[in-house]
Every structure is written in structure tokens, then in C-alpha cells.
């Protein structure tokens, strides 16, 4: 027996390829969509991986430092460092902000890069919070005004960026070090970052100073020096967002976290809880959004496959009548239509996978295509093809062989 479906495809291969490519682009969009979701989850994961921490100590009853703002005194780490099971503890600050590029160069136009500025405690590579590996350049060696930036920011080695009031020289580059929302990270020394969190810009500083001067409570004629003290207090920032803790080998997460929670009166999260916060809470809405899109795209794909197969079947309705008249079994005809739908699905999937892979790096945010998604996608595509061919199969089976006989 020859394959009727194969012969039909060979006969109308142009139609099949083009339809398959069209369907493939649609599937590509679907796969990319799934990749966007995976990318978002991965952004959260790499954020946690790159911090190098086992525990996050944050302000009491907050979901900080990524999902909520958290502020704790910058000398708290010393007390945490002495808790049992703590191998390392380091302050860290996170601040998502616009970072000025190009302004430092003469004649350069200011280009803003949205970035997450990470203040990392002094202590050399390997300290929690430091970039775990680089793509180029070196780690920060000076205590001030050096930065390690992510490649996604577009910054280059040696470039000078402006963060708030200060200029930082980019000495190192990282890869895939992003915030949970995909913004590239820029690592700067903690003290600079603390200042950056507080000192907005020169204008803001001046305004603040004037405001304090105008306040009679601070500017008392009888108390010289009070105003200076107030301004000094206003422009220093003795807080950080979190303390990153690395646990000594052999200690359990809760074993270390519980005493800190209890005695230091702070909230402590472990890796699993943090992931739950980032993936479960921070991107929950976006994930639902994407899930909606996936459902819609699947529905659209199904509709398109169904329509294409339907059209192909309608084109052959006379031939199907003849086939039935000359004694072709229903099973054979159904198999022909089903095989065509599946072939269309396979072509679509292959094209879609290729399209998605090549399109993924072009997206501004990270798109992660994981094999399991592809496999699931493949199964779903085939399932959709099977389902959408049912209409056509019913149509074909309903054809009366008598229709082939004229009159």
C-alpha cells in the first residue's frame, strides 16, 4: 500500500512547506513566549546564585531585599558573624536606578542605562555579594569609584559611568548577572553604594541643605554648629539592605537561621524561601500573563492547523468521494488526513524551534529555551494537530461515495 498522505504532500509540497513555515513562526513565538517565562525564572535564580549566599538577613517582616525594600543597620553583620554556624557575613545594598553613560566623556551625550547597582562589602573576590565569575577585566580592588558591570548594560572596560554624584571606572564585566526583573547589575563598593542610595544628586543635596537651613529648629542662632551636625547626619546613611550569610559546612539552614531570627530581631530567608519570593511572588503576575498568552497562542495555532487541514481536505473532497467509491476504507482516509496534520505539525515545530533559537538572543530580556519546553511543545503541537484534524476527518468520513457518481 502506498502512503496517500505522503503522496499528497509530495504533490502539494510547496503549499505544505509554506504553511508549515507559517505555522512554525507561530510555534516559534509560542516557544519564545515560554522562553521569556523561563528567562524570568532564571533571572531570579541567577540573582540568588550570584549573590553566593545561603541566608538573607533582612529587615523584620519584609520580603527584602529584592521584592521589597529592606533597611538594616550596617553594623548588624558583626553580631551575625558571631552567631553559630555562620561562615561569612557581608553587607549588601541593592538599588535599581538609571546609570548615566557617556556623560563623563567630553562631548558625550548622556545615555541612561537602567541597572541594579549592587553595593558589595570590602573583602575581595569570594565575599558574598561579589560577582562569582567575570567575563572580562578584573574584580574591584579599590575601595571606591570602581565598578564591575554586566555585559547587558552595554558598558565596556575602561568606560566611566555616573552613578548619582560620582564617576566610576568599569574595571570588569560579567555575564548573566541581572536583577529579578532582568536589569543588568553594576557592582560598586558598599560605601559608595550606601552614599548613592542616599545622595540623590547635587541639586537634591543642595535643596535638602537649604530646607534644613530654613528650618528654625535646626538653624538656631544660639547654637552654632547644630546645622552642620544636622546636615552631616542627613547626608550619611548607616544602613544596608541585607546581610548575606554563608553557612559553615555541616550546619543546616534553619539551624543557623533560627537563632539569628530570634536574637537579632530580623527576618532571615533561606535559599528555598527566597526563590519562592522571587519566583512565586515577584513574577507571579507576569507568569500568569505569559500563561494566558501561551493558551491564546495554542488556541490560535490549533485554529490555524484546523483551518489548514480543513481547507486541504475540502480541496480533496471529490477525490475522497472517489476513493470511498472505489473501496478505500475510512481508516485509510482518516490516517491520510491525520498524517498530513502531523507532518504539518512536525515541519512547524522544526521551523519554530529554529526560529525561536535564533530570535532568542535578539530579545532585550533573557529568553531561556529549555529542552523540556521543546519536548512539551512538540507533544502539544502534535496533540493540537490530532485534535484539529478531527473536524476534517469527520467531514471526510461524512462524504457520500455516491457524490462521485454524477446526477
Amino acid at each position: 500500500m502506498i502512503s496517500l498522505a505522503g503522496r499528497d504532500i509530495l504533490h502539494a509540497w510547496g503549499k505544505f512547506i509554506f504553511t508549515g513555515v507559517g505555522l512554525g513562526l507561530l510555534i516559534g513565538v509560542t516557544l519564545t513566549m515560554a522562553g521569556v517565562y523561563r528567562g524570568m525564572v532564571d533571572d531570579g535564580r541567577v540573582l540568588l546564585d550570584n549573590s553566593g549566599a545561603d541566608l538573607w538577613v533582612v529587615q523584620r517582616d519584609t520580603l527584602g531585599p529584592y521584592a521589597e525594600s529592606s533597611s538594616i543597620p550596617d553594623d548588624l553583620w558583626r553580631s551575625i558573624r558571631t552567631m553559630p554556624g555562620v561562615a561569612q557575613a557581608a553587607n549588601v545594598t541593592y538599588l535599581t536606578m538609571q546609570v548615566g553613560r557617556g556623560e563623563a566623556e567630553p562631548g558625550g551625550a548622556r545615555v541612561d542605562v537602567r541597572a541594579m547597582v549592587v553595593g558589595i562589602a570590602a573583602g575581595g573576590p569570594g565575599t558574598p555579594g561579589w560577582p562569582p565569575q567575570l567575563a572580562a577585566g578584573r574584580q574591584i580592588t579599590r575601595g571606591h569609584y570602581e565598578a564591575v558591570a554586566d555585559l547587558a548594560s552595554g558598558l565596556r572596560l575602561g568606560e566611566v559611568v555616573k552613578i548619582r554624584r560620582n564617576h566610576y571606572t568599569v574595571v570588569g564585566l560579567t555575564r548573566r548577572m541581572v536583577s529579578a526583573s532582568g536589569d543588568p547589575m553594576i557592582f560598586i563598593p558598599l560605601k559608595d553604594a550606601q552614599e548613592a542610595q542616599f545622595l540623590k544628586d547635587n541639586d537634591a543635596v543642595l535643596m535638602q541643605r537649604r530646607r534644613s537651613e530654613a528650618n528654625p529648629a535646626f538653624n538656631r542662632p544660639g547654637v552654632p554648629g547644630l546645622l552642620d551636625a544636622v546636615i552631616a547626619a542627613q547626608t550619611s546613611n548607616p544602613s544596608v539592605n541585607a546581610v548575606l550569610v554563608r553557612i559553615r559546612p555541616g550546619y543546616g539552614v534553619e539551624e543557623v537561621a533560627e537563632p539569628i531570627r530570634r536574637w537579632q530581631r530580623v527576618t532571615v530567608y533561606g535559599r528555598a524561601q527566597m526563590e519562592e519570593i522571587l519566583v512565586g511572588k515577584l513574577i507571579a503576575t507576569s507568569a500568569k500573563q505569559i500563561a494566558m498568552f501561551l493558551v491564546i497562542l495554542a488556541a490560535v495555532s490549533a485554529a490555524i492547523v484546523a483551518f489548514i487541514i480543513y481547507t486541504l481536505t475540502m480541496d480533496k473532497i471529490r477525490e475522497i468521494a472517489v476513493l470511498k467509491l472505489i473501496g478505500t476504507r475510512n481508516r485509510t482516509i482518516a490516517a491520510m488526513i491525520l498524517q498530513q496534520a502531523l507532518v504539518l505539525g512536525v515541519i512547524g515545530f522544526v521551523v519554530g524551534k529554529i526560529a525561536a533559537t535564533f530570535a532568542a538572543p535578539l530579545f532585550p530580556k533573557y529568553v531561556l529555551l529549555v529542552p523540556i519546553d521543546s519536548i512539551i511543545g512538540f507533544c502539544v503541537v502534535l496533540a493540537i494537530c490530532v485534535l484539529s484534524s478531527i473536524v476534517s476527518i469527520r467531514l471526510a468520513l461524512a462524504v457520500d461515495p455516491a457524490a462521485a457518481i454524477g446526477g
Binding site: 504533490h11 509540497w13 565569575q133 572580562a136 580592588t141 575601595g143 560605601k191 521551523v351 529554529i354 521543546s374
Partner: protein, 383 residues
């Protein structure tokens, strides 16, 4: 005979599908977890390292003179402006005496009145003394009664006391007058040293309280930088070391200086060691006080030892080390580190030998089982 129609179609279909399939296989292998991790590799070299310390500080004057009145008054005139050079003893301005002169006149009048009271008391005392002497003689002559004599004696003592009080009162008033006159003289603001006016905090007509600075005079020769070094990277900081100073406004002209002293008291809050850095030669023009300066203190070079870039350091299971490349496979080598310089070179005390090959940059975190692909530079990094 031409090819059968179906064969031609089959060939055409294959011509389209085959590249698609090849592309698909390429895509499946080159992306995702099957792709090898791109890394760059460097050889450990034995090199001397010249460590240096980096800190920041602000330009300060070692001696700052805040000149102001010693009691409240209104500023009458102020003759110097910010930036003026002043000499020791130069009158910079004056405080309006307000009622001080009137108070002196009143004090003088009070003094005169007190002197009159004194004279009156003298007269009373001399009369009382005379009376007492006469009644004493009468008592000796048994003419007067003992009781009357005692009364006259008491009157004399009272007159003596009144005289002493009046005399003391004049002394007091005279001293008060002198005090007012001294204050009158102190209304002038006088420069204590040769120097430069750094700020002028009040203008004529302003009422100032006692102790409030009206002008600030600094000694330009005594400029230094109040520098702060993070304690964790301040190892080796000592007085006398040469330092390079870069002022924020003149970042292309580094200035030479040296560490004058390490402050015995560090900043416990900011975890910084505080040091004073002096300029070898006073910079000209003078930098404004409070200007930010970056300080690099060069330490003496250390002997050669295996040296690696700090970008090669990784933390695996809480241990700091590097990934060694041995026959194309990865092996993690924990290291203990020595000193490092500001260019990111770190000496390895233990754990590595010169000549070993280690991973410097990697696309993502490595594991012992990672497949690697050694490249010149990572994809996406501009040359």
C-alpha cells in the same frame, strides 16, 4: 528520459527539508545544556607584586582659626573677604558697641556717687572718732557715766565699718568700669596669625552671639588630606610612605605626598582607618577645603610568587580557589592568598604552582563535570 515527476518532487522536498533538519540538529546541540561553556585560560606566572592601598579623603587645613566676638553684639564693619590674605594682628572688623559707651558713662557717674558716699563716711567716722575720744577723757575724769561712753564707742565702730564699705564699693565700681573699658577694646576682631580668610560667615548689621565665628582664617601652608582607608585593605599602611593624591577637580594631575601619621583612633562605625596625608609641595592654586581626593599609597614590592588575576577566584562549597585545567578537564584547587595589587593581581601563598593553567573568565558557573571550550575572549566581549 526525464526524471519521473514524483522523484523530482521528492528531491525538491528533500532540498528544503534536509537543511531545515540539519539546522534543527545544530540548534538543538548548540543551545541549551548540551553546549560547552566558553572559558579563557591563563598560565600561573611567578611575578613580584607591588601592593598599593587606595583610599579617599578630603582636603583640610591643619590649623583653622574661627574668629568671633566674645559677647553678643551687632557686627559694625568687616573689612576682609574670603580669599584675602591677612597678617597677624591685623584688625579684621569690629562689633558695634551698642549701649556699651552709655554703660561706661553710667558706671562713671555711679563711681562718682560712690566717692561722695565715701567722703561722707569719712566725715562721719572722723566726727565719731573725735566724740569717742572726748567722752573717754570725760569718763577718766569721772564726769561722764560709763553707759554714755560705751554708746560713743559703738558709734565710732559703726562709722568705721561704713567707711570701709564705701571704700570697697568704689573699688568695685572702678573695677566694673575697667571691665567695660576692656570689653570696649575687645570689640575689634584681630587676626591671630598670617593666613587666608576661608569663610566670612556674617555681614555688617548681623547680630552675633558670643562664640559665633564671624571669619575663619586658615594657614595655607598647613593643608593636608584627611584620608580614610578601609580597614580590610589597609594592611601595611605606615607613616612616611609615599602617596599619590588625585584631586577630584584635577584628576589628570596626580600630586605627590606622603603619609604623615596614622590616627590612633580609627572610625569604628565606618570600619575605616584614618590617616593624614601631606603634600610634598603645597599645590598651587590651593585646592578648596573639603575637596575630595583619591589617595594611592604605594607599598614596597614583594618578592616573586605565583600570581593570578583576581578574576580567576571562585568559591566552591565555601572554599576560595581556582579551576585548574588539567588535560582539558577541570579540577578545583583551593588556594590561600597573599597580597594583591590594585591591578587585580593576587599572589598565591599555597595551592598553585607557576606554570599551571587556570580558568580566568567563564560564561557561567563551572562544575567539575562541565564541558569547556577554551576561547580567546568570551562571546559578547568587545576586543
Amino acid at each position: 528520459m526525464k526524471l519521473p515527476g514524483l522523484k523530482r518532487r521528492t528531491l525538491a522536498l528533500l532540498a528544503v527539508l534536509l537543511p531545515l533538519l540539519l539546522l534543527f540538529i545544530y540548534v538543538a546541540l548548540r543551545s541549551g545544556p548540551l553546549a560547552p561553556v566558553a572559558v579563557t585560560v591563563v598560565m600561573v606566572e611567578s611575578k613580584p607584586v607591588a601592593p598599593a592601598l587606595a583610599g579617599i579623603g578630603t582636603v583640610q587645613a591643619r590649623f583653622t582659626y574661627k574668629i568671633g566676638p566674645t559677647f553678643a553684639g551687632r557686627l559694625k564693619h568687616l573689612d576682609v573677604h574670603v580669599g584675602d590674605a591677612v597678617k597677624a594682628g591685623q584688625v579684621l572688623g569690629e562689633i558695634d558697641p551698642v549701649d556699651l559707651d552709655d554703660r561706661i558713662v553710667a558706671q562713671q557717674a555711679a563711681l562718682k556717687a560712690a566717692e561722695a558716699v565715701l567722703r561722707q563716711a569719712e566725715a562721719r567716722q572722723s566726727f565719731a572718732q573725735t566724740q569717742a575720744g572726748r567722752w573717754e577723757q570725760l569718763r577718766v575724769a569721772r564726769v561722764a557715766s560709763e553707759e554714755l561712753v560705751a554708746m560713743k564707742r559703738q558709734e565710732h565702730a559703726v562709722a568705721d565699718a561704713a567707711l570701709a564699705a564705701a571704700r570697697d564699693d568704689t573699688v568695685r565700681l572702678r573695677a566694673e568700669l575697667a571691665a567695660l573699658r576692656t570689653q570696649r577694646g575687645n570689640l575689634r576682631l584681630i587676626a591671630p596669625v598670617d593666613g587666608l580668610v576661608a569663610s566670612r560667615d556674617a555681614d555688617p548689621g548681623t547680630t552675633v552671639v558670643a562664640g559665633q565665628a564671624v571669619v575663619e582664617v586658615i594657614d595655607p601652608a598647613s593643608l593636608w588630606v584627611d584620608a580614610r582607608f578601609d580597614q580590610i585593605s589597609a594592611e601595611g599602611l605606615a607613616a612616611g610612605l609615599p602617596a599619590q593624591l588625585v584631586l577630584r577637580s584635577r584628576h589628570s594631575q596626580p600630586l605627590a605626598g606622603r603619609v604623615l601619621r596614622i590616627e590612633p583612633r580609627a572610625d569604628a562605625i565606618t570600619e575605616e582607618t584614618v590617616a593624614k596625608i601631606v603634600f610634598d609641595a603645597p599645590p598651587s592654586p590651593l585646592p578648596p577645603l573639603g575637596e575630595l581626593a583619591e589617595i594611592t599609597v604605594q607599598l614596597s614590592p614583594l618578592p616573586a610568587a605565583p600570581t593570578i588575576p583576581n578574576a580567576a577566584l571562585r568559591v566552591v562549597d565555601g572554599r576560595r580557589g581556582v579551576w585548574k585545567v588539567v588535560d582539558g578537564d577541570l579540577a578545583f584547587a583551593p588556594v590561600s592568598l597573599g597580597r594583591s595589587d590594585l591591578d587585580g593581581r593576587v599572589q598565591v601563598v599555597e595551592g598553585l604552582a607557576a606554570g599551571e593553567r587556570i580558568v580566568v573568565y567563564s560564561e557561567k558557573a563551572l562544575g567539575a563535570g562541565s564541558r569547556i571550550r577554551v576561547v580567546e575572549r568570551l562571546p559578547g566581549v568587545a576586543p
